[in-house]
Symmetry: C2
Subunit: 262 residues, 2 copies
């Protein structure tokens, strides 16, 4: 059986709906997913107990899906089954986001589970190369993408956000801890006349089994509200929650959505 | 005589008021300084003519002060005296901000002028090391500063902004093309309960004769509005336009202003 280790957002429900056979929805306390029932809530302090419970329930595959933020571990709450995991958990919580993810994956793998990515279960989460929107990228798109990519690569090494907005070689904004939506919302009050692209890509060297960047039709709407001309994502590196809806929204708002060859 | 090559903001007036002897205020068209009369307006297309005019007026020293943005050169407007400068000007406009500045400085130096920094004329623009505000930095300030500094160093190589906001090792925002004020204003609607520092420093390897970062009591007010705990600047690297006013504002808003040893 599959266990969906769920965080916030729409992705857990989408996986639940789109995978065949039964699956368990397991949520980290405080980060409930949207619109689905949670079968098991857990805290990191009881991760050891959870691993045994999942194993007993017949779970073989786990898929991490949805957004979580780092939580603080309360030493008084750690159960006996979790104590052996504490060194690895501590390492996970102190590392960068990607390091944290790798450490958590390793804990599940050591316990005998197979970690599978959302896009392995539902391949069409990764849209094909090309631009299906009515509006197409301008000629100078390559320069903009090069600049955006250069900056994301740079800040990626400091384990900072997976997106940015660029216009004519100038950095409008870089995603920080408040995430993509907040960054795009802040650009609603930009002091210029608009233009530019929203660019999203995985961090350099990122473990692609989890935490791949995600966009949705809501992201498209926010990018349009921010006065941007379009969205560029990297082939195989960014999931689109509902591609046909995202294209519809982009066409309605006259922006482009381009999946660029990586 | 001194020529103040003025851009936007309060710095040109401050230099005019605080330097002895006569000085000429020369402004790049479209970037008028605050609260002072401009003796000469110029466009980049007429830079050659300006250099000769300054020389004839007895100017020996030039000081660049205030903010400008990159402008587009109109080939039809280039005068004969400026034509020989075009290769260097083009190089300047295509380079990063710091490269642009160095190229402009070189043009003035080749024409026989001495380029002097605002803080060489008015040394107290660079406040001494220490924290003169009532509120002092917390104990974990070193970690925050290390993180902020690491990120600015990184993005500095991509010639991006000179400031950022950090809270508990997480990047809240990085200054982009819209500048410090806009970044701080965007943080007025932050989705958390506040906290963190505003950090400003020169870019790595920056030519410190021009475009040193500047803060003022207005920056202090905006940092407070952004819910930050305080401001950290680097000794010798950031000018404070009116230190006593900035301290007064910081005390009023209960935030700290710390000049850190570089």
């Amino acid at each position: 059986m599959l266990a969906i280790i769920a965080g916030q957002g729409d992705l857990p429900k989408l996986i639940k709906d789109r995978t065949k056979g039964p699956s368990l929805v397991v949520a980290l306390q405080g980060f409930a997913p949207n619109d689905i029932d949670v079968d098991l809530n857990f805290r990191l302090e009881n991760l050891g107990a959870l691993l045994i419970e999942l194993s007993r329930a017949g779970v073989r595959d786990v898929c991490f899906a949805g957004a979580v933020r780092r939580t603080v571990i309360d030493p008084a709450q750690i159960d006996d089954l979790t104590k052996p995991l504490i060194p690895k958990l501590t390492e996970a919580l102190l590392g960068g986001d990607d390091g944290a993810l790798r450490a958590i994956f390793a804990i599940f793998e050591d316990a005998g589970f197979n970690v599978t990515a959302a896009h392995e279960l539902i391949p069409d989460l990764l849209p094909p190369v090309g631009c299906q929107t009515k509006r197409k990228p301008d000629q100078d798109i390559d320069d903009e993408v090069r600049r955006a990519s250069e900056v994301l690569n740079m800040v990626g090494h400091a384990d900072i956000g997976q997106s940015c907005a660029v216009h004519r070689g100038q950095m409008l904004a870089i995603e920080g801890v408040f995430g993509t939506d907040w960054m795009l919302e802040s650009l609603k009050v930009r002091p210029d006349s608009g233009g530019g692209i929203f660019f999203k890509a995985p961090k350099p060297g990122q473990d692609r089994r989890g935490d791949l960047p995600v966009i949705s039709s809501q992201t498209v709407a926010k990018a349009a509200d921010a006065g941007l001309d379009g969205i560029v994502i990297e082939e195989g590196g960014v999931m689109v929650l509902d591609m046909s809806n995202a294209i519809k929204e982009a066409d309605k708002r006259n922006i482009f959505l381009w999946v660029k060859r990586s």
